[in-house]
Structures are given as C-alpha cells and as structure tokens.
Amino acid sequence: MASATAGAKGAMFRVARAVRSGLVSAFGAPSIVAHAAASRKPPTAILNATSTPALTTATATAPTNATVRLTRDAAVDRREAGLTVGRARKTFISAEDKEVKAIDDVSLAVNAGEFFIMLGPSGCGKTTLLRSIAGLETLDAGEIYIGDQRIDNLPPYERPVNTVFQSYALFPHMTVAENIAFGLEMEKKPKKQIDATVAEMLDLVHLSEFGRRRPSQLSGGQQQRVALARALAKKPKVLLLDESLSALDFKLRRQMQTELKRIQRETGITFIFVTHDQEEALSMGDRIAVFHNGRPEQIGTPEQIYDEPVDRFVADFIGDINFIDARITGPREIETAGVRLAVAQDLSGFATGKGVSAAIRPERITLMPRGKADGAGAGAGAAGPTFDGKPVFDGTVTESMFMGFDMRVHVRLATGETVMTRLAPPFDASLIAPGTPVSLGVESDHIRVVER
C-alpha cells in the first residue's frame, strides 16, 4: 500500500507541474521564468532594436549608458524618466492565421510622478502594452525600464509595478482587508506592519469601515477602491490601471476620476491609465498617448492633443471635429470652400497644391447672420471675406439639436460639405431654424491642417 501511494504521489506532482506550465502559457507569458536571470545583467549602452538581452554588454558608467533609444534619432535618459519603453514589439497570430501587430515599434517615456494616459479604440494595443509592463504578456522585442531598472525580463511578481484590473479581480474568498494584505504577505512583511499599511490604505480610499466585508458585499465603486488600495499597498513605482473606471456608471465614474487624481497627487506614484474614453483622458491626464494600430500617434498634454492633433485619426478620436476639404496654397495659407484662409500652423511640411483636410472644432466656429458678415467682410484682403479678423464661409442651416448646455447646429456649405457648430446659450432663434442662410467665422489659429 505504501509503495502504491508513493507512486501515485509522484505521478500527481508530475501532472501538477505539467498543468502549472500550461497555466502560465494560458496567461500568455510562457518564458517569464526562463528570462528571469537575464534581468540581473547591468544596464546596457545605447539600446536599439537589434540588441537582444544576450548580446548587450555593459560599458563604463558614461552618461550615455542610461539612454533608451526611442526612435532611430531620438533617445532619452531613462534615469530621469519614471518608465521608459524602448522599441517594443509584439505580434499576435489572429484566428485567421494573420499576424496582428499588437505593439508596433512603440517607444515612449513616462515621467516620474506623472498621470499618463494611454488612449485609443479597442484593439489599438494599449492594453497589451500595459500588460507587457505588468509582465502578464511578453514582448517579442524591446525594453522596458523603470528608472534605471530593466524590468521586461522579470516575472510579474518581481516587477515594482502593480495593476488595477478592469474586472477588479478581487479575491472573493478573502475579506477586503485580506485582499489588501495579500501583496504585503507575499513580501513576508511583519504582521504589525501589514496591519498598519492595510489600515492606511483603507483610509486612503475612504473604506475604513469595510475591512471585514467580502468583495461581494460591496458596490462596484467600493470594489474599485479596494482594487486600488490593494495595488497601492505594495507601494509600486508605477501603478497600472486597465480601463479601471469603465464598469462604473457615469456619476460614479466622475467621482472616481477626481478621487484617482487626488490619490495620485497624495502618493506621488506614477500612474499609467488605459482608457478608450477620450473625455476621461482629457480630464485626468497630465499627458496622453493616443494609440492607433499598435503605436502612439501622438503623445502630449490634453491641450496639445485637443488643439493641435498631428493627424486625422487623433483629431477625429478626440472630441467632435469638422473636416473640410482644403488645398495648400502657401506656407501659412490654405484654400477651402472657395475661401483663402491664413492659418497659424506651419505648413512647410506639405507640398503646395496638395489636398488636405482643415480640421475645426465645432465650438471654435462662430455662427452669425449672413448679411452681417457680408458687410463686415467688404474690406477683406487676399484672404477673402472676414469678420473681426475671422475668415468666413457661407452656408445654410440644415438641422439644430438642443443638447442642454448648448445647441448643435449643422450648416451645409456651398461645397455641399456639412459643418457642425455649437451655439452657447442664450440661443439666437433667428439662427437655428433649418433653411436659414448663415455665415461661419473661425480664427486662423483654430484651424488645424491634417492629411486627408
């Protein structure tokens, strides 16, 4: 009998091991352990896409030692950044056996203590990049640093990052306090210290009364706070938030946005927040990276992203915008709808005569009666008719929609294109009836020229 059980025991462990390795591959991180040793290597010299962990060698501690090559030309000093991603790539094989570039040569640097947002539509690679930073996905190529520490070869449990998951992923069989304590227990911290940290975290997220409850006894917003507290308890260098507010209803989401900003300010931890909600991104982020097809199209402050989108995708993805067909007529001049417009943007990158799009935000367009513009525009120069210095288009109102805080007015231009504008209250009744002939004015620095 004894030998029979011993044999069975051995078999059991073999099966268990096989299952465990299967488990890891199910998480998409098959080689996390295999690479763990490589991470102990000293930091490399200038890193580029061709260097692999095995080939890189340490050189003297020259300042260039700590740079991460972001593109072929640009490099940043990673010691000053909170998190640096250098030329990261990851390819998935889709169900149709096609290669999908989830992360397509992505380089970015997140400042320490920054609230950084990765924004984009679903499938743009933002979540894959976040999971790669967390260690739940493995990059095909590229490097990730936190400060001076290379982390892309570390298993998830050795990385100084923590994640707030979209589904919260709270352990249902543990109380709120036990959930928060879990990460600290993994660090083998003394019991006293764990209790103190748990209390501190509960206080931070205003849930001090709820420590002994189970996650199932909490509301969605409260669960969200527990997930946040659990991740922050580990005092990570970088906190990753994966669509963390998307499961909450509108009001709660607003509230949590404010809360997150407060917590980020108070803790000083670098936050990397993934979302597809542009409004959330604009209101919360210190900087935003707009992702499209596996790479950031633009990285900048919310104001930059909103007012100076670099391309049509970014302009279209963030907020409402009108695209009007235009043609380049000079270094700072375009022609659109039969009107020549001076623009503030430097257009030297575009060839003269090239067809482009003029992107104009609805709220930047002034709606006025037709005749008024005509009279004022009489003295206009080569740039065409103007009103108070604004170039003017003529059009006809096609539709008006009351939105509460403003009125959306659609105007058809002479070219047949429709432009949407926003009218602030009090609403001028003479301007919004369909069929009314109107004029539209726009400041030259509110026109953004992008590729068509």
């Binding site: 029979a4 059980t5 299967g22 260690g135 739940l136 298993p155 998830p156 589904s167 249902p172 580990k234």
Partner: protein, 349 residues
C-alpha cells in the same frame, strides 16, 4: 459584481448524476462553501401557491407533484425501512430469509462471538473488515482527489468547445456497466495480460497483479476518479483566471497562486469529490471480488455474503444499518460544520 464560483452546481448538466444513486444523498448534505453569502436565498420573498389560489401561468399546481413525491419516497425510504426492520429480526432455523421475531442478535454478532457453551467473547473480525474498508476507501479517495485536481484544472483551462468534449470523455465510463469494466481490468492485470506481456518482454518476469489488494485499489481508483474530476471541474470551470493574474501581479509565485487562489476556488469541488468517492468506495463490492479475488474482504462483500452463502439475513441487514447510520452521522457532522463556517463568514462580514 464578482462571480461567486462556489455556488456552481455540483455536476455539469451533461453528467448523468443518476449514475451515482448512492452518492447523491451525501453530496447535497456536504458543506457547499463557507464564504458564500448566507442570506441570499432566504432574502427572496416566497410566493404562496395553495389550493384554490390562482397560480401564475407556466407554474404547475403543487398537487401534480404529489405522485412523484410518493414514488420518490417509496423508492428511497422503502428499501431502507425493510433493511432496518430485517436487522431487528431473527434467523429462521433453516435457510435464508427472516423470522418475524424481535432480536438484536445481528448487532451483537458484529462485536461478540458466542462459543458452544453460550459464553460471549469480543470478536474483532468484523471490525477488521470495517477498518479494511475504511482505509481502502481513504486511499482511493486520496489518490482520486490528487489525480483529479490537475485533470480538472487542465480541462477548465481549455477552450469552451474542448471543455465540453473532455467532460464527455470523463463521463464515458458511465456508459458501460461497472462489472463489464471491471472484467476489462481483469484482462489487463491478468498474468497473461498486456502489462505482463511488457514486463516479460523487458525481462521483469511475470508480475502477479490480479487478485491482490493493489488490484482492487486500482479498480476502485479507476471507478471513482470521474466522481472526483466532475465536481472539481465544475468548481474550477467558473474560476476567473484573472484572479490568478492579479495574484501574480501582487507578487505571488506560481506555487502560492496554485495554493492560495486556485486550490481555494476548487475547495467546494474537492469537498464534494471526497464525499462522492469516500462513501461509495467504503461500501464497494465488485472490485474486491473480481480484482482482489475475495482475499480482502470489504464491508460490501461481508454484507453480500450474509445474504448469500452465510444465509444470515438479519446480520447482513444489521451491518447495512450500521453503515447507513455512520454515513448519515458523518454527513450530518460535515453539514453542521459547513453551516458553522458559513455563519462565521457571515458574522465577520
């Protein structure tokens, strides 16, 4: 809201649970889980449906359930009543059957032996049979649970389609009669069977495996493995593997994730699996006879021999009753303990 995997059913719907008639009773009385919020079901308002009251369309009046309930009671309690009654009767002078005269002889025989002169001595022979049955059942259960956990975990991590196929494969043994399947094991373990063919080919010589305790254990483990896999799979199939990711993220190594997160999620399944293996294995009959060659007597064999060769029906009935009481007590204790831990969880919350 997070899902509560503990509340999943013991068996997936594809499983013919009727294949385990003796096991279905304890599975319902086993503790489901401590952490499940206790007041859930009771908080729901009860709809009263009485005679003469208007019943919502689509709901059958409860009168229609009466025939089924009567039949059900007859089938479950009827044989038990007969057995309990028989256990308190006495042997006829010749042959099997019972004589309608009250006697506790059957129970006394379990522990005491009377010599020719009418003196009673303590007789450990039948207790030894109980003991043998118990450890064989325990070994069977332990091995089944140990084997079933990785299998169940592996199945639960496949795609939905593969999972369905694999669960079907696990239930294949239920499609054939147990005795036929045990005969198949006899052929496999035979001195001239395929295993021995290998053994002799590689110079190990013929290994006598059939008609040993080991052989009956193999038969028992084989029989009860699906009963361990299915409830555990059921518990794990609802497991949110993102919890494992979260644990990794919080610094847990793979071993810790397996122990503290996945094994914890499988716990209700493991408890059901233990009940479904331990109790029927304790009373198993076929495997010790066919594979063990009757050398190791288990309680099931003892009972059957009392009704056949020994022709001592009251004694056989008494042993059956004792097993029944022990099982019920065990189930009761488990249920009370389960309730207590559930209440504890509720209080702490």
């Amino acid at each position: 809201m997070t899902r509560v995997p503990e509340e999943s059913t013991i068996f997936p719907s594809s499983t013919p649970s009727s294949a385990a008639p003796s096991a279905s009773t304890p599975s319902t009385s086993m503790p489901r889980h401590g952490s499940a919020p206790a007041p859930r079901g009771s908080a729901r308002p009860r709809r009263k449906i009485g005679l003469g009251r208007k019943v919502k369309p689509g709901l059958l009046h409860r009168v229609w359930a009466v025939p089924s309930i009567i039949l059900g009671l007859l089938f479950t309690l009827g044989p038990i009543c007969v057995i309990v009654a028989f256990s308190f009767m006495s042997r006829p002078d010749v042959g099997g059957g019972v004589k309608f005269a009250f006697s506790t002889e059957g129970y006394r025989k379990l522990l005491f032996r009377e010599d020719f002169f009418g003196n009673s001595y303590f007789d450990p022979r039948y207790l030894e049979v109980f003991w043998t049955s118990l450890w064989m059942a325990l070994v069977t259960t332990a091995v089944c649970i140990a084997l079933a956990f990785p299998i169940a975990l592996w199945i639960s991590m496949r795609t939905e389609r593969t999972q369905r196929i694999l669960v079907l494969l696990v239930t294949i043994p239920f499609w054939t009669n147990l005795i036929v399947r045990t005969y198949a094991w006899m052929l496999i373990l035979n001195d001239n069977g395929p295993i021995n063919a290998f053994a002799t080919a590689f110079g190990f010589g013929t290994q006598h495996m059939l008609y040993t305790t080991g052989a009956s254990l193999i038969g028992l483990i084989y029989t009860f493995l699906p009963f361990a896999i299915l409830p555990m799979y059921s518990a794990l199939s609802g497991f949110d593997f993102r919890l494992a990711e979260a644990a990794y993220d919080l610094g847990a190594t793979k071993g810790v994730v397996l122990r503290r997160i996945i094994l914890r999620a499988a716990r209700p399944g493991i408890l059901s699996g233990i009940a479904l293996c331990l109790i029927p294995a304790f009373g198993s009959y076929v495997q010790p006879v066919l594979l063990g060659g009757g050398r190791v007597l288990m309680v099931g064999n003892l009972i059957s021999s009392q009704f056949s060769e020994a022709r001592n029906w009251p004694f056989g009935a008494a042993i059956s009753t004792v097993i029944l009481v022990i099982t019920l007590l065990a189930a009761l204790v488990a249920s009370v303990m389960g309730n207590r831990s559930a209440r504890k969880a509720g209080e702490s919350a």
